[in-house]
């Protein structure tokens, strides 16, 4: 109630007039009433009423916050957070080595950034995650939907069909081996058509469309409450050309990162971004570093760097709040993103992973 007038979210012109008239606290405004206010500062009665409604809403919000202590402010004890984190699912990647170093898979409510040179498999992992997020809970997934924001045009629908078909087949084999009621029931709704219908695709051609889409994201996520994954494939591409003003770029990127963090937390979804690599020319040699500069490195919670070692693809966990740094090899097969070695057989019935393992991409094929 003792809140200062200058801190209320009113129009600046109105605030200036109130300050000039001598009003200092919200309490004074409410006591004056709309008619008195309109006479004193010379605005219409309707405008005065609107302003008072805004003030009342703000003060009510403040009071609720101080009285109850939860809701709008995100105040938790660490124990509550621990319970929440343990109950939360991960989005598995079908590459058990990668899931292990990430601590179970891609975490919900966190931003994960994947950096890498061209052709190393960033988009493949994104497509794999967009399918894996939809795996039903009885098979170990989070049963969510996916939003795919594409800025580079690298989304190939045929590839998604291949990956989705392989995933459905994998689940069917598990269900056959275990013969449980809920497995078979879940499989009825988990089909190729349903997977494809729950991937929401947006194609943004420049940074303005990307900004607009991220502004509209909270509304979209509230309408589609089952979305558990937001992928932005190519956050760097629209920002790397036509930007003479680098400070504007930094400001826009930071704003983008903040909105994504809010969206991830409010809707309990994972955000995955892919970034490009750029060359940093040093004193004597040049190195490949993630693009968009040093300040962008703070935006993501978890950072994965994909790179080549001769002909083997490697993934390095570069930044994570809870896991240690590690490097693992992975493969891209016709079925999607997979381990190098066949994973430890826990369910027993998979034959699909073993056989049609494409041989790793060799250097000359890359060119």
């Amino acid at each position: 109630m003792q809140r200062e007038v200058g801190s209320l979210p009113l129009a600046p012109a109105l605030r200036a007039r109130l300050a000039a008239a001598g009003f200092q606290t919200a309490q004074e405004l409410l006591e004056t009433g709309p008619c008195g206010l309109s006479k004193e500062i010379g605005i219409s009665k309707e405008e005065a009423l609107e302003a008072l409604q805004v003030v009342r809403q703000e003060c009510h919000g403040d009071a609720a916050r101080t009285a109850e202590g939860l809701g709008a402010t995100r105040k938790f004890t660490a124990l509550e957070l621990l319970e929440e984190e343990q109950a939360q699912g991960f989005i598995i990647t079908f590459c058990s080595a990668l899931d292990n170093i990430l601590g179970g898979g891609v975490q919900l409510t966190k931003i994960t950034e994947i950096c890498g040179a061209p052709g190393v498999g960033k988009t493949q992992l994104c497509l794999q995650l967009a399918v894996d997020v939809q795996i039903p809970e009885c098979f170990g997934g989070v049963a969510g939907e996916a939003v795919f924001i594409d800025t580079e045009g690298s989304f190939m629908i045929d590839r998604v069909v291949d990956i989705a078909a392989a995933c459905v087949q994998h689940c069917q084999l598990i269900a056959e081996a275990q013969q449980e009621e809920d497995h078979l029931k879940a499989l009825e709704t988990f089909s190729l058509e349903s997977i494809l219908s729950h991937i929401y695709y947006f194609r943004c051609c420049d940074y303005i469309e990307l900004l607009a889409q991220v502004y509209l994201l909270p509304e979209f996520l509230s309408e589609h409450s089952k979305v558990r994954l937001v992928v932005i494939d190519g956050i760097a591409f629209p920002f790397r050309h036509d930007f003479e003003d680098l400070s504007l770029r930094t400001r826009l990127l930071n704003g983008l990162a903040q909105q994504l963090i809010i969206a991830a937390n409010d809707h309990k979804s994972a955000v995955v971004l892919t970034n490009q690599m750029t060359t940093r020319i040093g004193q004597s040699q040049s190195t490949l570093v993630p693009a968009l500069g040093e300040s962008w490195g703070h935006a993501a919670t978890v950072r994965l760097v994909f790179h080549w070692d001769n002909s083997q693809r490697l993934a390095t966990l570069y930044k994570s709040p809870s896991q240690k740094e590690a490097t693992i090899p992975y493969h891209i097969t016709p079925h999607g993103f997979r381990d190098v070695q066949p994973p430890a057989v826990t369910q027993g019935a998979e034959g699909t992973e073993m056989n049609p393992r494409k041989r790793p991409r060799r250097e000359e094929e890359k060119q």
Binding site: F148, V161, L196, I199, Y200, A212, F237, H241, T278
Partner: protein, 284 residues
């Protein structure tokens, strides 16, 4: 989309006039400002400004489609998804041929046949659909002056002797191949940016740029300060325009690149020249 004027975003007339006084006329100007700045220029409260932001965003944002709708659309017209190269093994590896709607890069050391391949694809694109072509014109941007019209006729006559049985058919085919000789980066970029209208008016079904690397190599010395940023700027601008054209018109775009030596601590290995080839990489 970015240059869309605010009055087409369904903002009220007086608001547009007020914003005009601050030189904010397009959606781009509007969305680049922070919330506090917007409150100042529009003179409205926090919540009102958020509603305005949503309104303007809705005017700029792309349309949503589900992956299922994309698949259905593709399956309706399967033959137009690829341009078959008539090299059986290559088509098999590429799952059908050069894909329509995305950029394809061909790279090799000198003398391996990049320009010949481009010329052959140009002939193929002009053939009718029944023979595996795209039944359309070709835009060929040549930066090395390597295109030879005589070779074009020779390839066409020898590869499809039954189809090109008369001179008239050969001339008709050559009339559909539009050649542009551009020798600097600036003119290449200007040409790419002006292609949209040409594609519609001439019913273009294939764009070939031979080669991107030669103009870039001539003009940008990466050892000099600032050149790397400008080179990357030029390449990404060109790439994003080409991607837009490829997707919008569902046509294949072919780019050729050169091989250079990447000097590192170890023995010299061969690698692609243009490192911002993250946008120009072979699809699939």
């Amino acid at each position: 989309m970015a240059a869309k004027k605010l009055r087409r975003a369904q903002l009220s007339q007086e608001l547009c006039e007020r914003l005009n006084r601050y030189q904010i006329t397009t959606c781009q100007d509007f969305l680049c400002l922070s919330l506090l700045e917007l409150m100042k220029v529009t003179g409205q409260s926090y919540y009102e400004v958020q509603k305005l932001l949503c309104k303007v965003s809705r005017a700029c944002a792309p349309k949503m489609q589900t992956a299922y709708e994309m698949k259905l659309r593709k399956s309706v017209n399967p033959s137009s998804a690829f341009l078959s190269t008539t090299l059986h093994n290559l088509d098999r590896v590429l799952h059908g041929g050069v894909p329509c709607g995305s950029l394809t890069e061909i790279t090799s050391p000198p003398g391996c046949g990049k320009t010949q391949f481009c010329i052959m694809l140009s002939v193929l694109a002009t053939l009718p659909v029944s023979m595996g072509g795209l039944d359309g014109s070709v835009i060929y941007i040549d930066t090395e002056s390597a295109f030879s019209a005589e070779r074009l006729i020779e390839i066409a006559g020898n590869k499809f002797p039954t189809y090109f049985d008369s001179d008239e058919k050969l001339f008709w085919m050559t009339r559909n191949i539009h050649l542009y000789r551009e020798l600097t980066c600036c003119s290449v970029l200007k040409r790419i940016l002006s292609l949209e209208e040409e594609i519609i008016s001439k019913k273009v079904k294939l764009i070939v740029i031979d080669s991107v690397a030669s103009v870039v190599r001539k003009e940008f010395d990466t050892k000099l300060q600032g050149n790397l940023a400008e080179r990357s700027n030029f390449l990404t601008r060109g790439a994003s325009m080409l991607k837009y054209l490829a997707e919008e018109f569902s046509i294949p775009v072919i780019l050729t690149n050169q091989i250079t030596t990447s000097l590192s601590n170890g023995p010299a290995i061969q690698a692609d020249l243009v490192s911002p080839a993250d946008d120009l990489s072979l699809s699939e």
